[in-house]
């Protein structure tokens, strides 16, 4: 990572990516998951992960790509990258 980001900034980036790619507005990351968001399908998930990688200048592992299935997990993974 090139610079640190606080949680709020990560949430804003994530909500922007999700709203853009899933074509619906998301105001909060609270409780937001693939489980409860029908449009967050397997194809969109790949696009979302790639978009976050581009936006944030990082690369998730394959295991993370498959397993980051809710907003909190994604934020935690990004924060971990920034902390390292």
């Amino acid at each position: 990572m090139t610079e640190s980001m606080d949680r709020n900034a990560i949430e804003v980036k994530l909500l922007t990516v999700l709203s853009t790619l899933l074509k619906q507005p998301f105001a909060s990351v609270a409780g937001l998951s693939r489980q409860n968001t029908p449009a967050w399908d397997s194809l969109k998930h790949v696009e979302i992960m790639f978009a976050l990688e581009d936006e944030l200048g990082l690369e998730f592992s394959d295991q993370e790509l498959a397993g980051l299935d809710d907003a909190e997990k994604i934020i935690a993974a990004i924060e971990a990258r920034h902390a390292s």
Partner: protein
């Protein structure tokens, strides 16, 4: 039917299913996370092999294992069936929960349909309540879709289906996006 079609992708390939894949199919179809919208199938390996023997004799039915190219690890199964008069249906699509093969396996099955079997059109029918899979087909960019009321009977209950249809003209439009995503995933995947 017995076939020898192998289709290579970027990170995955399709290969013919065989008797020694029975355990894989039973495992996938027995997973409650995956089988909610599936017809009841074989509950053990002998039953699955018996089902395979019927399948081997059935014309127009092409059952595949989706496996990683790097190490041959199977990540799921997929089929084309009822292939006749230039058209067919695809389905029996099950992937391990952690698999990233969804996009590429869909791309590969369409390639099989249009490039190897030289069909003119193919459809996929999904239980309407299976919103994630319906959304996947929509996300592929398939515009030809219709509702089929009370199409599936599963465990004694009737379910509506959503049918997505792709013909050669539509495939030309859909293919580049699916391949781009499949290639991007394969390029970064190390499977270690």
């Amino acid at each position: 039917m017995r076939h020898d079609i192998r289709v290579e992708g970027h990170g995955y390939r399709l290969r013919p299913i065989a008797d020694n894949d029975a355990a894989l199919v039973v495992e996938l179809r027995s997973n409650p996370e995956l089988n909610r919208y599936l017809h009841a199938g074989a509950i053990d390996i002998p039953q699955q092999i018996a089902w395979f023997h019927g399948y081997y004799e059935r014309p127009g039915d092409f059952y595949f294992v989706i496996e990683r190219r790097t190490d041959g690890l199977p990540e799921g199964v997929i089929s084309i069936y009822d292939a006749e008069n230039g058209q067919a249906e695809w389905g029996r699509w099950i992937l391990r929960p952690e698999s990233l093969a969804a996009v590429e396996s869909a791309w590969l099955i369409y390639r099989t349909c249009f490039e190897r079997l030289e069909l003119d059109r193919i459809c996929c029918r999904t239980v309407a309540a299976n919103e994630k899979v319906v959304s996947f087909h929509d996300s592929c960019g398939i515009e030809a879709r219709r509702m089929l009321p009370r199409h599936f009977e599963l465990q004694g209950h009737w379910f509506d289906a959503v049918e997505h249809r792709v013909d050669r003209t539509a495939w030309v439009t859909l293919a580049p996006r699916l391949e781009k995503l499949a290639r991007a995933l394969a390029r970064r995947s190390r499977h270690d």
